[in-house]
């Protein structure tokens, strides 16, 4: 099992309770589960890395258990009960202190911190009902954000669990002075600042700035007309990728809130979306049972993998997705460098090739053209100059001879 799990760079949790690993470079997908124990009770809700080295995965299932999956061994090593199924399924999971503590959040709004092997949670916070997502700040790992339906965005410091660090305020009433409905579906911390970006069930994208006294969003953008389900921040910054229930994914600019581009090819609603930490790639999965990897640069589909069950969540490894291809690319670069530095012989060879190519490209057409032109000129200049024709022909015939010589050299 370990052999198959090590090269996997994309991990997906499915509705049938199967953990799936996809190795993009080998174009293979693996299932990690006991096929005899399949049940919807094990439906995977969230995935996260258990440590910074990305050697272990935490898999949160619907029945309130969190399983540890070792990438090295390719098997589940540990199971821990982190709540009742009655409390609703998990909406978020995070790891503190490099794996020493785990944070889980259930739909009912119970946010718990589990330390070591103790059965009782170290801290327990009630973050409000109907929580749709809990996310951790990748820079300050003690900060988590929560939000849900009629439950506005709150940022919590887990070391001071009494009060939220930041509580967002609902939007201003509309022009009829009616309350605007509030439905946070997903959020992310913008690296390098305190800002938090959220997407809502009413197809809005909001940016909140806790560092300012303003508690309402500092930026509001809308995309499409269907509820947005997930979002992710690309490594490049300044933009956010959002996905909705109709299988539309778009990149929004965070400076003005305009759509930068859309990704095509999805058939069903998006459930999981993640941008790669270093490469310009975005992976998406959802109800259409496909994993798709798009390039953020040209927005084309790079990879498309059919995974047989509806997919709930997605986790990318931070190393390059296509290790083999990357290696090839690096090799190519190295080769080029060598070329520049050392091999003059090769340089010479290449130049010859180029010339040859040029010649080959030019000669037949040019000759034809030249001959035509000259022929025409000849006709115009009438018979008096006919005597010169053979002389003119000879220089035309010479270049092919040169060519053949060069070719012989190249062959030699």
């Amino acid at each position: 099992m370990g052999e198959s799990s090590r090269p996997c760079t994309v991990w997906l949790g499915s509705e049938t309770g199967i953990l799936k690993g996809v190795s993009v470079s080998r174009k293979q997908a693996f299932n990690f589960c006991n096929s005899s124990q399949l049940s919807r009770q094990h439906e995977v809700r969230t995935l996260c890395w258990a440590d910074a080295a990305e050697s272990e995965l935490l898999v949160a299932a619907v029945d309130g258990t969190v399983k540890t999956f070792s990438v090295e061994k390719g098997a589940f090593t540990d199971t821990r009960s982190c709540g009742d199924p009655a409390e609703g399924c998990f909406v978020g999971m995070a790891v503190l202190d490099n794996g020493a503590a785990q944070v889980t959040c259930a739909e009912s709004g119970l946010l718990r911190v589990w330390r070591d092997e103790s059965r009782e949670p170290a801290t327990e916070i009630r973050v409000g009902s109907d929580v749709a997502r809990m996310r951790q700040n990748p820079e300050h790992r003690h900060n988590v954000a929560t939000g849900g339906k009629d439950n506005c965005l709150k940022v919590w410091d887990l070391e001071k669990p009494d009060k939220p660090v930041f509580t967002a305020k609902n939007l201003r009433n509309d022009w009829l002075d009616l309350r605007r409905p509030h439905w946070v579906k997903d959020m992310a911390f913008i690296p390098g600042s305190d800002k938090v970006v959220t997407c809502t069930g009413h197809h809005q994208v909001h940016v909140y700035d806790p560092s300012t006294p303003q508690r309402r969003p500092v930026l509001e953008a809308t995309y499409g007309e269907y509820p947005l389900t997930t979002l992710s921040l690309p490594a490049a910054g300044d933009s956010v990728v959002v996905g909705n229930t109709h299988g539309q994914i778009a990149v929004l600019d965070l400076r003005k809130g305009l759509v930068r581009g859309c990704f095509k090819g999805l058939a069903g609603g998006v459930r999981g979306l993640q941008c790669h930490a270093s490469q310009p790639l975005v992976a998406s999965c959802g109800l259409d049972r496909f994993l798709r990897i798009h390039s953020l640069e040209n927005r084309r589909v790079q990879h498309k993998v059919y995974l047989k069950s509806r997919l709930n969540c997605l986790l990318l490894a931070s190393r390059p997705l296509e290790e083999a291809e990357c290696a090839v690319g690096e090799d190519g670069q190295e080769v080029k460098e060598e070329d520049d530095d050392v091999d003059e012989v090769w340089d010479a060879m290449e130049q010859v090739d180029e010339r040859e190519q040029n010649l080959k490209r030019k000669t037949p057409e040019e000759e034809a053209e030249n001959s035509n032109r000259k022929a025409q000129e000849n006709f115009k200049s009438k018979t008096s100059e006919d005597g010169e024709n053979p002389e003119k022909k000879t220089p035309e015939e010479e270049p092919p001879k040169n060519k053949t010589k060069k070719r012989k050299k190249a062959q030699a």
Partner: protein
């Protein structure tokens, strides 16, 4: 490796080009020789050196063009017939040794392979299907009970269509919509143990949409309805259908999406058909269009069977499949028809 491969191909090309250039030269030389002799004629030849391919559309006289076009068509037809005759004659001559008949290329038999095509031995898909929303029906726990309603204020054909659909589907009840919202109807249906809600939408007195919502947990499918033919409009139809539960034929639902849709149709009808009734409901999928037909059959003798269409007949095309009960605003869609993204390839089918 690449470096070695590339020049080889170039050389090949280069040789070819050289040959060509040689040929052109050889052809040019005699031309030039002629130019030496007669100059004026050469000029005329230069202008007409490449005679354009003859085409009927180049004729400027309309009548003549028309005539020529007719002639062209006739010629083509003649040629075709001759070829056909020749082939037939050959077939007769050769008998059994004749070359096999050519199968015409259609977009169906040229279908692009769909990776979601269900493999019956696949454990994971089997498990997924065994535990989906229809598992209660397929395990024999529930019996279908269907509510048929329409959009607000149905007119003429839509009402008749609903009634006839109710005679096809056993245990179906037609209700007047009374302007109720679907989201409010659904909980009431669930409370009354309905397993399906069918809503027929109409536009200008013509039924044009069908929402098929499985209860209590979904999914919901939205179809476009076209070419509805009611019983009265049918030629050579049989007598009114009986109350017996019909058999169901589901044709050609191969992909994962097709399977879910097929299961959805299957769950409309009770599981144990009454063969006494000799009635069959067919859902035939062809090029993503689902054709519905309702027949009565009879075994005339050991080899022959006769069928008689009872009607109604209509065609469905899937627009979307949504997870959960009807919620077009906040529901999560499992599959949506995106015409400009999906239909790029005409040989790719979704069902």
């Amino acid at each position: 490796m690449d470096i070695t491969e590339v020049p080889v191909t170039q050389k090949g090309k280069g040789k070819k080009k050289k040959n060509k250039s040689d040929k052109t030269k050889t052809t040019e030389q005699p031309a030039k020789m002629e130019t030496d002799v007669e100059v004026k004629e050469e000029k005329t030849e230069e202008t007409v050196s490449f005679p354009p391919a003859f085409s009927v559309s180049d004729i400027k006289n309309k009548q003549r063009r028309h005539l020529m076009f007719l002639k062209l068509k006739q010629d083509k037809r003649k040629q075709k017939m001759e070829l056909k005759k020749k082939r037939k004659r050959q077939e007769k001559m050769l008998g059994s040794k004749a070359p096999p008949k050519q199968v015409p290329k259609t977009i169906e038999n040229q279908r692009v392979y769909d990776e979601t095509t269900v493999d019956p031995e696949d454990e994971e898909v089997a498990f997924d299907e065994a535990t989906d929303e229809f598992s209660a029906y397929f395990n024999g726990l529930t019996n279908p009970k269907v509510l048929i309603t329409t959009s607000d204020r149905p007119r003429g054909r839509t009402v008749k269509f609903c009634r006839q659909l109710a005679t096809v589907i056993p245990n179906a009840h037609v209700y007047y919509r009374r302007g109720l919202a679907l989201k409010r109807i659904i909980p009431q249906c669930v409370a009354r143990d309905f397993t399906y809600l069918i809503v027929i939408n109409e536009d200008r007195k013509v039924p044009n949409g069908l929402v098929l919502c499985h209860l209590p947990e979904g999914p919901t499918a939205h179809f476009k309805v076209s070419s509805v033919r009611l019983r009265k409009e049918m030629k050579r139809r049989g007598k009114e259908p009986t109350e017996h539960t019909p058999e169901v034929i589901l044709n050609n639902f191969t992909t994962r999406l097709g399977h879910s849709i097929g299961r959805m149709f299957a769950a409309l009808f009770p599981q144990n058909p009454q063969f006494v009734g000799r009635q069959v409901a067919t859902f035939h999928n062809q090029r993503d269009f689902i054709f519905f037909r309702f027949h009565r059959y009879i075994f005339k003798n050991e080899k022959k069977a006769g069928i008689q269409e009872l009607g109604p007949r209509f065609t469905l095309k899937l627009r979307s499949l949504q997870k959960g009960t009807f919620d077009s605003k906040f529901g999560e869609y499992e599959w949506v028809l995106k015409r400009h993204e999906v239909d790029a390839c005409r040989r790719k089918f979704q069902l």
